[in-house]
């Protein structure tokens, strides 16, 4: 399994299709108090808003890193939205996709490239 990253600070695992935001992104958003995730069956398109993460201050769209159909949403976030802050790249995942265009992954960054990207910001 390889994790791929976007310049909008989302990540996606190629095997499971799990999507979340990066540690850098959660740090920028601040304390997360609510997460709106797409329902299973929803079709999402690469680069379009698929979820919303609400911090104390503001609502921020999360763009889907790839296209596909939602197979699961992280139900734990309903009771514990702060998982996005405390474990953004683990238990704070947002939703899972069945990828409809796996070749889109080739356009994303690997972990090393993403680290370099974040260091440049």
């Amino acid at each position: 399994m390889t994790r791929h990253f976007t310049t909008d600070h989302e990540w996606v695992d190629d095997a499971a299709g799990t999507v979340g935001i990066t540690d850098y992104a959660q740090g920028q958003l601040g304390d997360v108090v609510f997460v709106e995730v797409p329902s299973p069956g929803t079709t999402v398109t690469k680069g379009t808003a698929a979820a919303v993460v609400e911090s104390v201050k503001a609502a921020s769209d999360v763009y889907s890193p790839v296209s596909g159909t939602v197979t699961a949403a992280n139900a734990d976030l309903e009771a514990e939205p702060a998982l996005v802050n405390t474990d953004p790249e683990g238990r704070g995942w947002l939703f899972r996709l069945e990828l409809s265009a796996p070749d889109e992954l080739a356009g994303l960054m690997d972990e090393a490239a993403y680290k370099t990207f974040v260091a440049s910001l």
Binding site: D31, F34, S55, K57, A59
Partner: protein, 364 residues
């Protein structure tokens, strides 16, 4: 960001690890440790806020009657060392800004909002008021139940001040003008001092065990919980003091005498009630509603949210909105539309979180 002005404490904010954002033309700290942690700390201990972006101005001591032509507060009758919350009004009774006016021995001292200070200055001068912009001064706020202990340790005597009273003090050779006031609903102080000494005082305050730095993010969540309006959002040139629930700012003598901008409209609203009012909303569930969201009553848009967010001390989302008088009673069930979904909410009294002011005449 590149064109933003820098606060006197800019270097200190960056050393403390603040995330800086552009606000009111300044680079300002939005948070240090996190909004919820800073909010919670302020409600339990003492938070230090840099509010040097706000406008500090003075008028000659004899300008009180002239100032009264611009606002509905009793300034002529204001005692020395007392603050009054007031509102600059336009000719239709709309609010141009909210501000604090203090009578001092030698002048009238005004604190206005940062985003509106240039316009206020022009407005005051156009009315013939000899206004001095004190941009040589910084303004720090120390807020929370332990603020009095921390500040009195450095500046003995401040504990004797009561809410909405102010006096001059000295610290390490610097002249301080300190009021017992703030924008969090907590007990606390605001300290005006030469910008050149702000970092030294802030550093001394941050060395006190009760004190941590708090950014704009928690300033907003604290004032929202306290039911305090934010100019440009909850108060605008299209809202009157009565609609905004700020009738207390129209002093008794001014109600009898009039003579302030929009007096005919405001006095009529005081007598008959305004057709719409600023209300507090408690939102069901955990999803915050934000400024601009439509409030639905009886399946139609009845008003808009003007401030909304999460109340960290309450553990739920809260908001302010303007609603027609018939839908503004406490307990009214409404809905708020967010991204096409309707969320249930209830009109509730403000403040959402009880205030803890130390008032004159009360046992502290």
């Amino acid at each position: 960001m590149a064109s933003d002005l820098l606060l006197p404490l800019d270097a200190l904010h960056r050393r403390l690890g603040a995330r800086m954002v552009s606000f009111a033309g300044y680079a300002m700290p939005i948070q240090y440790d996190g909004i919820i942690a800073e909010h919670t700390w302020t409600r339990a201990h003492a938070g230090l806020f840099d509010v040097s972006h706000m406008g500090q101005m003075t008028l000659p001591r004899g300008a009180d009657a002239a100032l009264e032509t611009l606002l509905p507060g009793d300034i002529v009758g204001l005692a020395e060392g007392a603050l009054r919350y007031s509102l600059l009004l336009n000719d239709t009774g709309g609010i141009l800004d909210d501000l604090m006016v203090t009578r001092r021995a030698d002048d009238l001292y005004l604190v206005v909002n940062g985003a509106t200070k240039a316009g206020d200055l022009a407005h005051l001068r156009a009315a013939g008021l000899d206004t001095t912009h004190r941009d040589d001064l910084a303004l720090l706020a120390l807020q929370g139940p332990e603020a009095v202990a921390a500040l009195d340790r450095l500046v003995p005597g401040v504990a004797a001040l009561r809410f909405m009273r102010a006096a001059g003090f000295a610290w390490d050779g610097a002249n301080l003008w300190i009021s017992r006031s703030g924008y969090t609903g907590e007990d606390g102080f605001e300290v005006s001092l030469p910008a050149t000494r702000a970092e030294a005082l802030a550093t001394a305050l941050l060395a006190q065990p009760e004190v941590r730095p708090v950014g704009l993010g928690a300033r907003d969540s604290l004032r929202l919980e306290a039911g305090l309006s934010l100019y440009g959002h909850d108060l605008t040139p299209e809202t009157t003091p009565v609609e905004a629930g700020l009738s207390f700012a129209v002093s008794k003598r001014r109600r009898a005498e009039g003579g302030f901008p929009g007096a005919a409209i405001i006095l009529a609203q005081l007598a008959e009630g305004a057709s719409r009012r600023r209300v507090g909303l408690k939102i069901d569930g955990r999803q915050p509603v934000r400024e601009g969201a439509a409030v639905i009553v009886a399946d139609a848009v009845a008003g808009l949210v003007t401030s909304g967010g999460f109340g960290p001390a309450l553990g739920c989302p809260i908001a302010m909105a303007y609603l027609p008088a018939i839908a503004a009673a406490d307990g009214t069930a409404v809905e708020v539309e967010v991204r096409g979904k309707r969320i249930a909410a209830t009109v509730v009294p403000m403040p959402f979180f009880p205030k803890s002011y130390v008032r004159a005449g009360a046992t502290p």
